[in-house]
Symmetry: D4
Subunit: 252 residues, 8 copies
């Protein structure tokens, strides 16, 4: 065959545009591509729902790439070991109940699993605002290109519709803050001090619907509901993503 540049260009535009048009309406929009958002989106998509994961950065994975202080390792506790197994992430035991894994392996396998489960990724995409109509339910997201926002260009966003939104944006809880600012709730309690034990438990119990149509998971759950901070132990993050998925699948 002779390779044609223009065919290549058209293949890329055409293939993605069909997806983009299709995903203007989806079942679940997960915002934030860190570990909890990846687990959550993968487990929902596995059930056959149409899930889009929206991430402002170019790469997927959030804060997991850097491990702790640039040492690319993460720790997962006993309770969440089964999720490492599920996603085929290798680990070794450091001391009783503490397992270390390589952060880059973990993030790439979670991403690959979400992709295989059918999640569509929209990277370099920011959520500028939310769509809440007369029924008071969060029913869509107002999105734009991240480089447009970063360069301060005056370019209008587009809107996509989703039945459920998951705020998996970490400490900043971006979607929850936008909803709170425009609609007066949910109350944002803010994250507490470092206390890993307590934070790990709380992040799962705080994983819930905080506004009609809006779920929080991962550190965003603790940031909205006032949990503690946990540091580079990722068991709670994975379990929170799983918990959100279960709740959402039950409801859909």
């Amino acid at each position: 065959m002779t390779l044609e540049e223009i065919t290549i260009s058209r293949a890329i535009i055409s293939d993605h545009m069909e997806t983009l048009l299709d995903y203007m309406e989806m079942d679940v929009a997960v915002v934030g591509g860190g570990p909890s958002g990846l687990v959550c989106s993968a487990l929902i998509a596995e059930k056959g729902y149409k899930v889009g994961l929206i991430e402002k950065k170019l790469s997927i994975g959030g804060g997991m790439w850097g491990g702790g202080m640039m040492f690319p390792r993460i720790v997962v506790q006993e309770e969440a070991r089964r999720l490492l197994d599920r996603f085929h992430i290798n680990y070794s035991e450091f001391s009783s109940g503490y397992y270390t894994a390589r952060s880059i392996e973990a993030v790439s396998k979670l991403t690959a699993a979400a992709s295989d489960a059918g999640v569509e990724f929209f990277n370099l995409t920011t959520v500028e605002d939310v769509m809440v109509k007369g029924d008071g339910v969060l029913s869509g997201l107002v999105i734009n290109w991240q480089p447009v926002e970063a360069t301060g260009l005056h370019v209008d966003p587009l809107t996509l519709a989703c039945k459920i939104t998951v705020d998996a944006t970490g400490h900043d809880a971006v979607i929850s803050h936008q909803v709170a600012k425009k609609c007066g709730k949910p109350e944002i309690k803010g994250e507490g001090t470092m206390w890993a034990e307590n934070a790990e438990t709380a992040v799962v119990s705080h994983t819930k619907e905080v506004f009609p149509g809006l779920y929080v998971c991962g550190m965003a759950a603790n940031a909205v509901l006032g949990g503690h901070r946990m540091g580079p132990v990722f068991g709670g993050m994975l379990l929170s993503g799983e918990a959100a998925a279960l709740q959402i699948v039950n409801r859909l």
Copy 2:
């Protein structure tokens, strides 16, 4: 179990430090975590060699995350389809001989495969300089943290030893330029105009040892040896990574 923050911190430091001390001497250092570097490192590590992949960014994957013009799709031509299969990357045929894949799936699966093959990743790490002693062979790299460089801090680098270095740093061919500046060769011919057909063939034939101990692959091969530019078709990149791996394994 009760979760202890300090045990978590020690697990991370201790686990990575053992690796870091160990990898101060390695068989092959691949610089640049784009598609050719990933394929190259994975295939060498599969043969049991000790391979480290050094990447300046926080995330692995290079230019593959963004597809073409932020449309997250890549194109692979017939010749390289077998590599998509090998790395379990899904694709669909756009027109005869042109296959589209999702860029985020592709990058995460290549990274996961390299990790499973035993590659160790050193992200957020820049190569400041090279080690060439009296025998005129590139025998090590002078590395530093990328954030140290980005903030202009005056902090000394460390040195690691490697039998073979692979310059997979793309258009910039960073290692080749450093060697050329300090040692007077190889000649850097510079990349030509866009001509995908020609570039795809050249990138494989240009994959070779260009200085004692230094191989080039991916776009760095075309940049050093004067090939054309190819755009978002990735067959040649994958094949170049494979070709470099074969040459290096034959030699080790």
Copy 3:
């Protein structure tokens, strides 16, 4: 009717994507949306050719918006008055042979005329490189989003095909420099001192094909072929755009 946000989003994506796919192959690509590029593209499109105008900024019009030193007025001399008439731009006589017009009226009417003539605009788009294959003819452009370039993101470009390219990028003569750097020609002579009389004549005589498939017009013509500089008198710019259009239409 009830207004649906998602229909609005889909209308925009769908409408533009059809155009984008269609314009991956065009007759003439005019790079630079200043006055000479606008006149050139409008006059070629009027003849029924498929013309795309590529502009890196968000707005079309180039240096014409600001008049001279932020006083939004331009001057056109007698020789080009007929082009003001043709594009329905109002003017008044300042002194014999010197006509002043409002710069904002001029730029908006030139843009509207190009649009009515069938020109398609691709704004916020940069040309990263050129496509020159074995026949040595400039046959396409390597494009990317300007905000991607401005934020330094590592995202691959796409390629579009065109029979003829017009470099109307002003003083910088961007396309001519890219071709010169990669192919060794044309020679870039550089712009001379301010000498309006001489520059106005030269800009028309310098309007020509400077490399197979590449025409220059407007200030880029003087920058490549060594003409003088002209300042905020726009007669020569308009006439140069017209001259380029005539030459290209004759050839197509």
Copy 4:
């Protein structure tokens, strides 16, 4: 004729300065050159009033240039189709009641129409403050060059007088905020969530006098009076500009 650089310079300075001196007193000052400001200013000027449009950027057109997410298309609904016709903007029907137009054509034709109607443009001009004297009526604007503001230079502004001011500065509602900060009113309710249907209706009903001498139109109307957000559908914007013009013409 021989072209004289100095005559060109004098023509530009002299022509604009007469305008500038003349427009130190005007009937209506429209601040913000987006679609609602353009329609509003054009329709008032058509009636013979002295209208100045003040825009901080170099180009006129505001957020319309970029369409939605850099896809240069806008949507207009049935109710506002007659305004597309009035301004000779071409469109096509996407689905029942939804018309798509090219954003660049739209903005250039609105600007050209305003110019033909007699509007004077003052681009690169910021409004630093407002003039409100003892009668409590907004009777003038304190203006400066935008580049002076952008470079943080300490340069005093000038003041111009106007009978009516229109705040067409979009989401930021700049003039309304300045008046509110200095005079304690109007109350700024802030923009709501995305809800196109509701927003499109509200933007017209919110178009009104919000402080003696100050009207709001376009997104500034919704920002001040608490309407929803609309995205890249422009019917309401055009109708709001028309509504403001009607109210102001009735009063003058």
Copy 5:
């Protein structure tokens, strides 16, 4: 001997990593390497306690390097002269009771003394957050690399444990603010106007435990408890560091 680069690298990594692992638990963490933090840490370490000094900058010494307005001299009053003697810092009498010393000599000798006393330094390290568990005691610090923070990278921190924390971060009283924000206390009264006489006395009397496990010394003491400001007289700073050391040693 033959010098081996890799042995050098391993020596550095290995030596520091043992320290780092060891100091994940320490008796006292002093945050801030200015004069009061240096004196405090030196005097506690002299008693045999395990003390770590955490400093965000590359160099130790804080505001002492620059003297007053870049004239590298400090002044110490009679009351604190004995501390200059203790740390072998040379001085001369300017007028009765006022002694001038060279700021660079002072800072290097305090640092050397702290080092000899057994203090371990962690420079280029920021404290992102604090660890406070169910007992309401400040029992650890959440640390990260300063260049990571400065470049805005999303990299997780690590946690270290300490029985006592000393906030010696100067005017900003960083640790006290973090504790206050997360735990509601201590009240931060803020620093008063310049009044050297009063400030010098207050800085010693304000040196105390302000939250379970948290002591303040140096300007942070005045910033938290509402003392005045003192300028480039350093007697109170040195005495405050000494006072904090005495209180902490008594308690341990």
Copy 6:
């Protein structure tokens, strides 16, 4: 005593200004406060000569603070161990002939020793240019405040006279480059690749007078005379500083 702010201010100004006026003429100006500059200046001052050390940063110590890759440890080889002893820097043996020391202890003790030897420090001071009169000897330095240079202020420098200048500015060899640019010599050969063994030997043999009145030591010696690079082993640096001091003392 009552503490008077104004007396404090006057003490600082008065004490430093006397020094500044005095040091407008000195025997030796050492530029650069890294390890070789510190050793060099200390050893010359010990012999009773008037030595000023000029450093552009706020703190003295150069690249020594950060150890290797932010791990604050340095390595010194057997040959230079006696200099660690001389400056009372503690160390431990890592493997035969390799000694590790804490970088912060090392830098503070070298600085303290230089200060005790009588060296005067001029920190935050840049060298803008050099004074070379008709005899072709470097006889003075043109200095300014570093913050003045950093903020781009147009403020004239002052000039100081010195019999001998030492370029201890590291890789950049700032003074040598300034002299070379203005006077055509010395030739700057540039630093070679990493080769610690060779570099350590060369840095001592390259320590010499390279232009009348100008000596180089430390990495500047290798940068000017074409030696290799050494990394975080500091024996050669200390020995080079010593060698420069010996040569200069012999000559004075």
Copy 7:
């Protein structure tokens, strides 16, 4: 004579340092070198008092250099014409009671007059804080170099004593804000809308002591006491400076 660089350096240092030491105590410190500060300081110094003018920029003159919108002209009304005469500033009558002067002439003559009157200038100097001791009187200023502040260096300030301070810092009323923040008063009412007539009268009546030892004049008077804004008419500014001088001279 033979010109000696070192004598030149010593002359500058020595001459200024004597002044600096002397002015650590002054009668009146005027902060801000705009027109009101210049008139105020000149008129007080004429009476033989020791006056220092502190200005953060390199040049004296404040907002007067740029006239209105970069047209270097100012307007002075009839009431203040006598001050133009007093300072030998040329003017011409534009219309009855309105005099225009060249802004650059005005600022240079005011500065020269202040200098001749004996005012000492301290340019590039910021006021970081104020000195207020137990008697609750503003009795000194805490100063630093502006480039130190601009580069974020951690360098301590010095303190100077003054019997009276004049806040002539314009719209920002810097000193009044610092005093208000630390001492709870004076109340800062903020500047009103543009209303030249009213503002010109108010600026003189608002010129007064607003805190023990602190006077306000020029736009700072209106900013603190709630006057209107005036634009590029300078009569009130000059009269306010005169009024402040009269009040202060009466009191001293």
Copy 8:
């Protein structure tokens, strides 16, 4: 009288615009408002010629404001003392033949004198290019607003005509470089090392016509003709300005 904001605005615009139109043709354009440019322009204007001084900064005075290293004093040697007298600048003798003056007094009196002599100032104005027509004589300057250049706006410049241009732009010799780049001459030799004695003599002898229509004075003379550097002694600068004026007056 009642003060009218609009009259004030019109007075400023009208007064300056007449000047601007008038000075589009002038006898002598002096570029650069430092001491040599001020003396030169003042002495030519005194003879009745039409002189414009073009300065890119907001304030006039160049490098004189800051004295030496921010100590606001300058030194003038015996030979130029008469010029201090002529411009009524006070001074005192430091040592035989060395006179110190206050830099702020000096700059304000030179500016005031130039203004009184009839010089028109155009501040915030950059020279983008030069006008050289067929006769090869520099006959005009291409000017723009400095803030336009600083913000990178695409706004066309204007052109003014002058019989003689004086390059008084200091070390950068901006005009000479522009002419050399476009016309191939004059040769720019570059400034030598610091050597005040030699530089002071050379700056006067180098003051001359270096291209038809272009004179250099002050540091630009030494930068173009290869003289030495002088530092903060200003006698040569003043004498050079005088010498240029004499030569130009003789020719006009």
